[in-house]
């Protein structure tokens, strides 16, 4: 009797389990516990745990908050689109808009300082993908996601979009500067 036919032993659930199988099952079970443990463990000792504070918002309200942020901390304009570069104080809030098809504004941060990011979309879903740091976060309209970021190296970083958002998806690129 093979796997294509009913089990030969009618009381198959009473058959003993071979020891290779038992060994493997035990090993796999322990491994599952280790992996389960790693996540809370990282919440305690690790430095990369995405915050999950989220607030309902509207495109209008989020845009207004971002505009106020830009007005307050704008230091210059930059780049082909003449976008404002905004340098908030260390420890301060940062607002970043995702919309079809760009990120607004450009942000300038200090290395080693922690900033409170507010992220939302004015239209469709987008994907915040910070390169080359390789941090990837989903951006959802009508929800304001608040979390902290602490740059650990200076340089010019790109924010690209990695959630498909229509025919201009690949045009969507923004910048974050990290300075000393």
């Amino acid at each position: 009797m093979s796997s294509l036919s009913p089990p030969a032993k009618k009381l198959w659930w009473k058959e003993p389990i071979h020891k290779s199988e038992l060994l493997w099952i035990s090993l796999v079970f322990v491994w599952g516990l280790v992996m389960t443990f790693m996540m809370p463990y990282w919440h305690v000792v690790g430095k990369q745990n995405l915050g999950t504070d989220t607030y309902k918002t509207t495109p209008k309200a989020f845009q207004a908050a971002t505009e106020a942020f830009v007005e307050k901390y704008e230091v210059r304009k930059e780049g082909p689109r003449n976008y404002p570069v905004v340098a908030p104080p260390a420890g301060g809030d940062v607002y970043l808009i995702a919309r079809l098809w760009d990120w607004w504004p450009i942000v300038e941060l200090k290395k080693g300082e922690t900033y409170r990011f507010h992220l939302s979309s004015l239209d469709w879903q987008h994907g915040f993908s910070l390169q080359p740091a390789n941090i990837n976060i989903q951006v959802v309209p009508n929800y304001e996601h608040v979390f902290n970021l602490t740059p650990n190296e200076t340089g010019e970083y790109s924010v690209i979009c990695n959630e498909y958002c229509g025919v201009g998806h690949h045009l969507m690129i923004g910048k974050i500067h990290v300075v000393d």
Binding site: S2, I17, S20, W24, G79, N142, Y143
Partner: protein
């Protein structure tokens, strides 16, 4: 009145009722057609992502990628799965199919849905990807086509359940259903849950696109869509594991090492897999860390455990059968003596190894809450699932098809020389696709993206490392190999149906189904019937690779910015 005429296959002794046979044929042929269509779209996608070739324009690329995902992931896979369900019930249990009329109605709905979907997508204004994340909007017919397809598939599931009842009432088998049927039952139960979730999300979305509902909450959409999208992948896993067991029985006469263990592992899929959809939402706003951790670990690692158990017991049962039949020397004689030139075996074995090493390990790693930050929506994700659903599921289905065509259509496979190589071409090409997409994803390259050179952004660019471009080029080359392998499969199968030598009622020259290994044979094997030292060694290699790769990723995570 259901027709009850049947024939007994001279090569396998299996009973094929007329109505079952025709439905099996129809579903399998439809599956292969959509695989061909979807695979060609995959070729265009791969050739566009190869930046030096950059075949399609942006709009065409997004349209073709949408069509690719739907044709292969939904239409090919599900048509084939319906065939697997009918096979595992009516054929394996030797009973008539319950309500063939309903089964045909389901089939018709699926065909209408799939064709309609292709028409809508290829008209160009439904390039929303298979996920169609609200509030991005497609024309109503897009959602309607998917709903029709899903209703058809649901009917297929109920015909399957009905057939189980028929078999029980007609007493066509004794005791418990065969393991392969049990696996199919698992798949069908998960399918019902999946389709219901799909209805919960797609019906309101259809109403919204018709202007009858005001707004779709984007986050709620993601949550429910993934209850559907995630569990649909569990149908595939259950189905292809059932196919692995079936092939081990067909070629080696193998029985499971332990019915109890294998069946419990299937049961764990039902209990723990389908609700574990939060690993698609690990970097979403509005979902708490506790929920993410609970949902991925409590639920997911038990399901992972189930897959790891099947990963041991399938090759283990082959090893035990081979040893019982005399290939008992050393650790790996049983494996060396396996029929590597038979595409049914090579396909199944590459599927098993690729699913475990490439798909399984990477899936668990990126499903850890924090590690997901590094890979979410990068090419790593399609890299991962081309190992699971293409090397794993698709190749397993191809392997079974080589065996099924002569049995079902009574025609010999044509181009046997090519058929011998086909699983290697497809399997290795696809493993390359998987590896190189994951390589590019590790370097941050986004998925579903037309131009990582940012040529049209008016001067705002990002320089991906040269290695990223190399990965995309290597992916392009692998895509070509895989498409040759995939096309070879379609040509061989369609060629066999049309031109294969007719077998009629005569037996084939080869033995087409192995005699089940008997208890005497098992116990003749040195008294330790189920000793599987070779498989245990392979399993340890797997485990060590898994653990290493897992911890390397935590280290990699520790190097990026602080996030809290």
């Amino acid at each position: 009145m259901a027709t009850t005429t049947f024939r007994t296959c001279p090569d396998t002794g299996l009973k094929f009722f007329n109505s079952t046979e025709n439905l099996l044929k129809a579903n399998a042929v439809a599956a292969v057609v959509f695989l061909l269509v979807g695979g060609l779209h995959g070729l265009l996608v791969g050739m566009t992502r190869w930046q030096a070739v950059h075949l399609l324009g942006a709009e065409d690329f997004y349209m073709v990628l949408t069509a690719h995902g739907l044709n292969v992931l939904i239409f090919w896979i599900i048509f084939f799965e319906i065939a697997v369900l009918y096979f595992a019930s009516s054929v394996l249990l030797g009973c008539r199919l319950a309500t063939p009329k309903w089964a045909w109605a389901g089939f018709a709905l699926m065909v209408i849905g799939a064709v309609m979907n292709n028409v809508v997508v290829l008209q160009g204004n439904a390039s929303v990807m298979m996920t169609s994340y609200a509030p991005m909007e497609a024309p109503p017919l897009f959602y309607l086509s998917l709903i029709l397809f899903a209703v058809g598939a649901l009917i297929g599931c109920f015909v399957f359940f009905g057939t189980l009842v028929v078999a029980k009432n007609d007493k066509t088998y004794e005791g418990s259903v065969p393991l392969v049927t049990f696996g199919a039952i698992t798949a069908a139960i998960i399918a019902v849950f999946t389709i219901v979730s799909g209805a919960i999300i797609l019906i309101p979305t259809l109403l919204w696109s018709l202007g009858l509902v005001g707004e779709i909450d984007a986050l709620a959409y993601r949550l429910i869509w993934w209850a559907f999208g995630h569990s649909s992948q569990q149908i595939n896993v259950s189905a292809h594991v059932a196919v692995w067991y079936a092939i081990a029985a067909i070629l080696f006469g193998a029985k499971p090492l332990s019915e109890k263990v294998s069946r419990t592992a299937f049961l764990m899929y039902i209990l723990f897999l389908q609700i574990a959809s939060a690993h698609h939402l690990l970097v979403d706003p509005g979902v708490s860390s506790n929920f993410k951790m609970f949902n991925t670990s409590y639920a997911m690692y038990l399901a992972v455990m189930a897959s790891m158990v099947h990963g041991l017991t399938v090759p283990g049962s082959i090893e035990a059968a081979q040893r019982a039949r005399g290939h008992s020397a050393g650790l790996f004689t049983w494996l060396r003596k396996a029929p590597w030139g038979n595409p049914t075996f090579s396909g199944m074995f590459i599927s098993l190894v690729g699913f475990g090493f490439l798909g399984g390990i990477t899936g668990v790693v990126m499903g850890a809450e924090q590690i997901n930050l590094l890979v979410h929506n990068t090419l790593y994700v399609p890299g991962h699932f081309h190992a699971t659903v293409v090397v794993g599921t698709t190749l397993a289905f191809m392997a079974l098809t080589y065996w099924l065509v002569p049995v079902l259509f009574r025609r010999e496979i044509v181009m046997k020389g090519l058929a011998k190589w086909q699983p290697y071409l497809f399997g290795l090409g696809m493993s390359g696709v998987s590896l190189f997409l994951m390589g590019a994803g590790t370097l941050g390259v986004p998925r579903r993206h037309w131009d990582i050179g940012f040529a049209a952004t008016g001067g705002i660019t990002h320089d991906f490392p040269a290695a990223a471009y190399t990965m995309l080029a290597l992916n392009g080359l692998s895509v070509i190999v895989a498409v040759i392998g995939g096309a070879a499969f379609c040509v061989i199968i369609v060629g066999s149906l049309l031109f294969g030598r007719k077998l009629g009622d005569q037996k084939m020259s080869e033995q087409w189904i192995a005699d089940p290994v008997t208890d005497e044979e098992y116990s003749a094997n040195g008294g330790s019937a189920f000793a599987i030292p070779g498989t245990v060694v392979l399993a340890m290699v797997f485990f060590v690779s898994f653990a290493l790769y897992y911890f390397i990723n935590w280290k990699y995570l520790a190097e990026t910015w602080g996030i809290s």
